[in-house]
Symmetry: D2
Subunit: 240 residues, 4 copies
C-alpha cells in the first residue's frame, strides 16, 4: 500500500472571487486525493498551510511514501524547518511530486539547489503535452501527447539542474516550450516535477493529467527507506 | 587556428527541380564554408559524397579540428569504413557538429548508439528556437530566442541518449516541440546536434543560425587530441 | 515471467589448459543460467558463438526480455548483423546486461558509441566492490560492499558515455579504481554493465555477484516493448 | 583577469596543538592564494570566518569570478544569509570550487540539494587520484594519476546528485574509493568539488593538486554573468 500525502497551500480556492473556488470548492488537494483514493494500492491523506506546522511532522513524514506538493503565492509562509523536514525525508527515501507553481516552493528549491525560475504568462493558452520518453513508467497509458484547452504558460529557460529524464515537453499556443515533466533522484528519494495545474483551470480533472500523477505516485514510491541519510559514518578500514 | 571540414552529401542542390538548387547553388557546404571562412581563427575546407572515399581519409581527419556534417537521403551511400573513421576521430578528440537531417547519418548514429528517430513533416512551419541554457557558449549572442519563417518540422520523441546539455528547444507553428540543440561528450571529442537546416529553406543564411554554428565550432575545438582512444593499455601495478 | 537469454562466446571453458575449464565445465552461460533458473519469475535459455547465427534470430530476440552477454577474445567472430539485431532489440525495449570483458563486445560498443576502453591487468588482485547508490534496485541486498578474493583488474579511464547511474565502484589491491556497475537507458531498453567475472576465477559462484545479476535482470525487464524504434513517423499537424 | 576569492574558516591552523599550524602557518587560504597569485591571468583575495559577515558582501561577490571554499568544523558558524548570497552568485554565473571537507559546507549543500554525506577515516592513508576524464580541462597536465602520501580517507557512497562529469576518482590504501573530482553546472555558474586537502597534511603544496586547482579556476571562470537569475519574467506572447 502506497501512503500518499497531498499538501496544498489552499489559498485561492477559499477566495470566492477566484475562479478556483468554483472549480475546486474543496481545494486542489482534495481533487487530487479523490482520484488517487480510488486506487486499491493507495491510501491518501491531505494537509494544508492552515494546519499546525503545515500538517507536517516527523511522524507524518515517516508514514508517508510519496508527498504531492501544490503551492503558488504562499511559498514564504512555509517555515524553513518544515521545508527542511520534507527535503530530509526525500533524501531518506520518500518520493516527492511537485505540481505546477510548486517549482518555486521551498522544498523543491532546496532539493534542486537552483533558481527554478521560468517565464510565465496567464493567458489561458492551449497546451499540448508531448511524451518525450515513451518507455518511462510515468508516461504509461499516454499515447504520443495529450491536450489541455487552457493552461498558464510556462516557458524556457527553466532554471533546474539537468534532469535525469525528460518525460514530457509542453507546447503552448502562445509560442513557448517547456520541459513539462522531469525526474530526479535525490539521495534515496525520487522526485518528479509536473507542470500542468494552474488553479483557475480544471486541469486536475483531466484524465491524462490524473493518469500521469497516478503513474508518478507508483514510480516515486520508495524501494529503500532509511532514517540517517545526513550522517557521515566513520568506519575502520576493511583491509586485513 | 581551428581547422573545419564541412561535409555535405551534396545531392538536392544539384537537382534543378529542387528548390535548394536556387537557394544553395554551390551547395550547403559552401554556404557554411563561406560564413565560417570570414573568421580570423578558422580555416575551412569542404568534402562531399562525390569525392573519392567521401573526401575522408585518415590524413584529412588528422588535420581536422571540427567536422560539420550535412546529409539527408544518401546516408546509406557513405561507406561504413568512412563512418567508422569519423567516429574514431571524434573519440580521439575531433569535434563534430551534425546538422538537421544528419540525425540519421551514419557517424551520428554510431556515436549515439540509438535510433536517432523523430517525427517530421515538410510543411514549412514557422519555428521559434528558444535558448534553454543561456550561459552556454553555443548560445552566446542569442537573446532568448530566434525565429525561422519556414523550416521542416521535427518533433519528439527524439531517439537520442540523454544529452549532456540542452542548449536550444524548438517550437513549431504546427504544434510540435523538439530538442533543437543538444551537446554530448564522446571520448575525447565534443558533439553538437543542431536541428535547423532543411535544404529547401535559406536557413544557413540566417544570422542567428550562422552565429550558433560559429559558436559551436569554437566550443567543439579539441582541448586534447590523441590517436589511440580505442586501445586498452595493460600497465603493471603502481603499488610498491 | 521474465524470459532471459544468456549468451556466451564459450571458448575458454572448452580449453582443458585454461583454468576456466575446471571452474565452469559447462560454460559460464550455464553457471549463470543455473542460479537464475531457480527463481520463480524467470525462465532461462542459453546461446553461444557455436550456434548457428550465434543462436540469435529475430524470433529469439522477440521472445527475450533480458539478454545477458559474456564475451572476451572472440568479439570479432560475432557478425555485425547479429550485433545490430541485439542493438535494435534493446532500442525496442529488451533489457541487456553486459558482463566483464563484454565491455568490448560488438552489441555493447554499438549501444555506447564510444571506445569502451579501459586499463587492465591479469594479476588476480583482490577486489572490493562498493555500493555507490544504495537505493538502486540493482544493489538490493548488498550491504555497503562485497569482496572478491581474485579478479582481473580493470581501471579508469573507462571509455563510456556518462552513465545514468553508478551503482558500484571497484577497489583493487593493485591500486586501481573502476566504475564497476553502471546503468543506461538506450531507446526503450535498459542496459547494465557489470565488471566482475574473469573466466579463470569462480566469480559467478559468488552469492553477491549472483544477487546483483538477479537484481539486474528484474530491473532491466521491459516496461514497454515496441517493434519499430528505428522508424521516423510522418504525422499531420494536430493543430486545428 | 580572473578574480579569485579564497575563503577559509581558518580555525585549525590557529591552534598550536594542531599539525596544520605548522604546515599552513598563514592558513590554508594563503597557501592557495600564494600559488594562484603567481599566475598572470589571476588576481587573488582571501576572506575568513573571522571577517565581518565572513568577508562576503554583495559587493565582494560581484567582483569575484571564482570563489574557492575550505571549511571543516565551523560550517554552522557561517550565517544562512552568507551561504545564500554565495549560492545566488553562483546561479548568476560566479564559479565555485569546494575543497575537501567543504562537502558539508552550507553553500555546497545548498547548491547540491542533497546530504553530501560520505564515509571517512583519519588514518593518513596513501591516496592515488586517477584521471577518469583525460580530455577535461581540469585534468590538463595530469598524466594518468597522481599520488598523495597521506590523506584523510573519504569513501562512497557520496551523497551528491549525479555529477555532470567525473574528472578524478580516488583509491585509498585503506580500501575505499571516492569520486574525488566532480563538476556541475548550477544556473549560469560552474561548480567543481575536489576531495584532497585535509588540514594536517601538506596537500595544497603538492604540484598536482595545485595544478588541478589552477585548472579549475580557469574552467570555472564565468562566460556569462547576470544579476537576476532568481527572477521569473512575465513576457507577452511573441506570436503575431
Amino acid at each position: 500500500m502506497i501512503r500518499v500525502l497531498v499538501w496544498n497551500e489552499f489559498f485561492h480556492e477559499k477566495d470566492k472571487n477566484n475562479a478556483s473556488s468554483e472549480i475546486y470548492p474543496n481545494g486542489i488537494h482534495n481533487a487530487i486525493a479523490d482520484f488517487l483514493g480510488k486506487e486499491d494500492d493507495i491510501t491518501v491523506t491531505t494537509a494544508t498551510l492552515d494546519d499546525e506546522n503545515c500538517g507536517i511532522t516527523d511522524e507524518v513524514l515517516k508514514n508517508t511514501d510519496v508527498i504531492i506538493w501544490w503551492g503558488h503565492c504562499r511559498h514564504e509562509k512555509v517555515p524553513d524547518e518544515v521545508a527542511e523536514k520534507v527535503q530530509t525525508a526525500v533524501l531518506n527515501g520518500m518520493g516527492a511530486i511537485f505540481l505546477h507553481s510548486a517549482h518555486k516552493s521551498k522544498p523543491f528549491m532546496r532539493l534542486m539547489g537552483t533558481s527554478c525560475s521560468l517565464i510565465w504568462r496567464e493567458s489561458g493558452d492551449f497546451e499540448r503535452v508531448w511524451v518525450a520518453k515513451p518507455s518511462h513508467p510515468i508516461a504509461a497509458g499516454i499515447d504520443t501527447c495529450f491536450e489541455l484547452p487552457a493552461e498558464e504558460t510556462y516557458g524556457e529557460p527553466f532554471g533546474i539542474p539537468t534532469p535525469d529524464e525528460i518525460v514530457f515537453m509542453g507546447w503552448y499556443s502562445g509560442g513557448e516550450v517547456f520541459r513539462s515533466g522531469v525526474t530526479y533522484t535525490r539521495g534515496n528519494g525520487k522526485v518528479f516535477y509536473f507542470q500542468p495545474g494552474h488553479e483557475t483551470f480544471p486541469t486536475y480533472r483531466d484524465p491524462s493529467v490524473q493518469r500521469v500523477i497516478l503513474n508518478a505516485v507508483r514510480w516515486a514510491a520508495p524501494t529503500v527507506r532509511i532514517d540517517n541519510a545526513m550522517d557521515c559514518p566513520n568506519p575502520p578500514s576493511r583491509n586485513k
